[in-house]
């Protein structure tokens, strides 16, 4: 029996206590984006659908349109704010669904072992092998446009992403004698897994979910960009970029650039946060012995 088992990552032990500036900025930005989306109806200077052909393709900095307007004169800032809602909510749905599925499958595979593990692991490998975007496009072809089907399909596509990590961490953690000691004390397998194993691997699960949030956001934005996700007049950042294509050719990249920047920054910030969460676990672990 070993005293310690190899930990995930040894770095970032200091991250927790020092709280690096990038982390504070990332969190602040995400809070800002979420608040923007939530309060869009109150805060947005214009209606997101209000067209004004006279004002079309105004550059950023124009009076009343800080981020400019698109090819039909709609206020880009207002549209980015309103677009934040779908752009954040849809990936959130994907993450929550895949979180539940992946955790259940990963824990089951790790604790049951044997053929159950073999079947679940190969199943996850197969799903993992398909490009998620391809699956989503397939689902649109089958179920028609709209966001519900892509969210469900993406959730399934991301389940292995979480499930495989949960499985390996649960196996690693499960090798520690405290889980066996609970069994010796007469506790049932289910209770030991849910009450003791799950809380101890939860930080890893959350970190992994944060990472998959970024991927889901990009996938859903890509889908909208392809014109398969959000249907007009609803807008998310992906569909805004898509609609801005002609404007980019006309020499005004602003209306596409702004939602693009929003996608980029959000994903970077979420990944930073996720990486920190994953890091702080190994940090906490390294204090143990």
């Amino acid at each position: 029996m070993t005293l310690t088992i190899p930990r995930l990552r040894a770095k970032a032990a200091r991250g927790r206590r020092r709280r690096p500036l990038t982390l504070v900025l990332a969190t602040a930005f995400l809070v800002l984006v979420a608040a923007m989306g939530l309060l869009a109806p109150v805060l947005a200077p214009h209606s997101p659908d209000e067209t004004s052909l006279l004002n079309a393709l105004a550059p950023p900095g124009t009076e009343g349109h800080w981020l400019g307007t698109d090819s039909t004169g709609r206020d880009v800032l207002s549209r980015v704010m309103h677009g934040a809602r779908l752009s954040l909510l849809a990936p959130l749905g994907v993450v929550l669904l895949s979180l539940v599925l992946g955790t259940a499958i990963g824990l089951l595979a790790a604790r049951a072992g044997g053929w159950v593990d073999a079947v679940l692991s190969r199943g996850m490998d197969i799903v993992f092998a398909f490009p998620s975007l391809l699956l989503v496009i397939l689902s649109v072809a089958v179920f028609g446009p709209g966001l519900t089907a892509p969210i469900c399909v993406l959730a399934i596509a991301y389940t292995p992403f979480i499930g495989r990590v949960v499985r390996s961490v649960a196996i690693q953690e499960g090798a520690r004698p405290y889980l066996e000691s609970y069994r010796v004390m007469g506790f049932g397998e289910l209770r030991v897994t849910l009450r003791h194993l799950l809380p101890n691997v939860l930080p890893v699960i959350i970190a992994q979910s944060a990472l998959s949030f970024g991927y889901a956001l990009v996938d859903l934005a890509s889908l909208s960009y392809l014109g398969l996700g959000v249907r007009p007049p609803d807008a998310d950042w992906g569909s805004m970029i898509s609609q801005a294509q002609s404007a980019i050719l006309q020499g005004s990249p602003w209306s596409g650039l702004m939602p693009g920047i929003a996608v980029l920054l959000t994903v970077v910030c979420v990944n930073l946060l996720g990486e920190h969460l994953g890091g702080s676990i190994s940090g906490k672990r390294s204090e143990e012995t």
Binding site: M1, T2, L3, R176, P177, Y178, E180, S181, Y182, R183, V184, M185, G186, F187, G188, H196, P199, N200, E287, E288, T289
Partner: protein, 270 residues
């Protein structure tokens, strides 16, 4: 006709992992209030035997009987009955606690499972148990990582005692501790046995430790018992060459490494 019944009886225990036989036809009995040592090197099958006793492994064949009743049932009721009679202390006292729970919480949990009742009573019992193993209330409020190895092992003993088992299986329970702490834990175990009449199955490779804590012992090699008897007698006049080899392997002033190596070769060749 008032012969005392063995509290634990193991008969013809066999455990195979694939083609490898870890435990081969092991039998022994443990009388109430006594202490039995299982001695052997790593790979001798002693830990596997302990794990079978604790229900962590299922034997390929053979039976384990607790208070005259065969164990191995998987129902909740059987599980609780067995756990209530036999508990185990692991080698790694750190790893045997949930890192997120305080020592007192960890000790209280099996109490709630085995003797449901008001939280107040459990709290009092936890304080009593901590006191019994020589830990302060303050240590009870600590997380496992804040305690020393010896304190953790005391806590592990307190947790097992809370269930009031008849048999305590200790798998290399002091091997990971400093020698001075080892002595403290062994003294504690000795006291507890006298106070509560609990029986020990003490698995160890350390003959000095076994000599102190056990009355009888079995020596295991390659999964088989090669010698059994009173601990003192075995250690004073070992009959089996393997037992002699184990004794000779203890560092001493007139230690002859050459001879130990030669004896081992001769033994392995047999």
């Amino acid at each position: 006709m008032n012969q005392p019944q063995p509290v634990l009886a193991v008969s013809s225990l066999v455990k195979r992992f694939g083609s490898f036989t870890a435990v081969d036809d092991v039998s022994f009995e443990l009388m109430p209030g006594t202490s039995l040592g299982i001695v052997g090197e790593s790979g001798s099958g002693k830990t596997t035997t302990a794990r079978i006793l604790a229900g962590l492994e299922r034997p390929t064949s053979g039976t384990v009987t607790l208070e005259g009743r065969a164990v191995g049932g998987r129902s909740r009721r059987d599980r609780l009955w067995q756990a209530g009679r036999l508990q185990m202390i692991f080698q790694d006292p750190y790893g045997s606690f949930d890192p997120r729970r305080t020592i007192a919480q960890s000790i209280a949990e099996p109490l709630r499972l085995h003797a449901p009742g008001p939280a107040e009573r459990h709290r009092a019992r936890v304080a009593e148990l901590l006191d019994q193993v020589g830990l302060s209330t303050r240590a009870g409020e600590a997380l496992p990582r804040d305690l020393s190895g010896g304190q953790r092992q005391r806590a592990a003993i307190a947790r097992a005692l809370g269930i009031a088992p008849r048999v305590l299986v200790l798998d290399e329970a002091v091997a990971a501790l400093d020698v001075s702490i080892q002595a403290q834990i062994l003294t504690l175990l000795d006291e507890l046995r006298r106070e509560t009449g609990i029986s020990y199955v003490f698995v160890s490779h350390d003959l000095a430790v076994v000599r102190y804590i056990t009355d009888t012992a079995v020596v295991m090699r390659h999964g088989r018992i090669v010698e059994r008897g009173g601990t003192e007698q075995i250690l004073r006049s070992p009959q089996h060459p393997y037992t002699r080899l184990l004794l000779d392997s203890i560092p001493s002033p007139d230690w002859d490494l050459e001879r130990v190596a030669r004896d081992r070769r001769a033994l392995d060749a047999r």
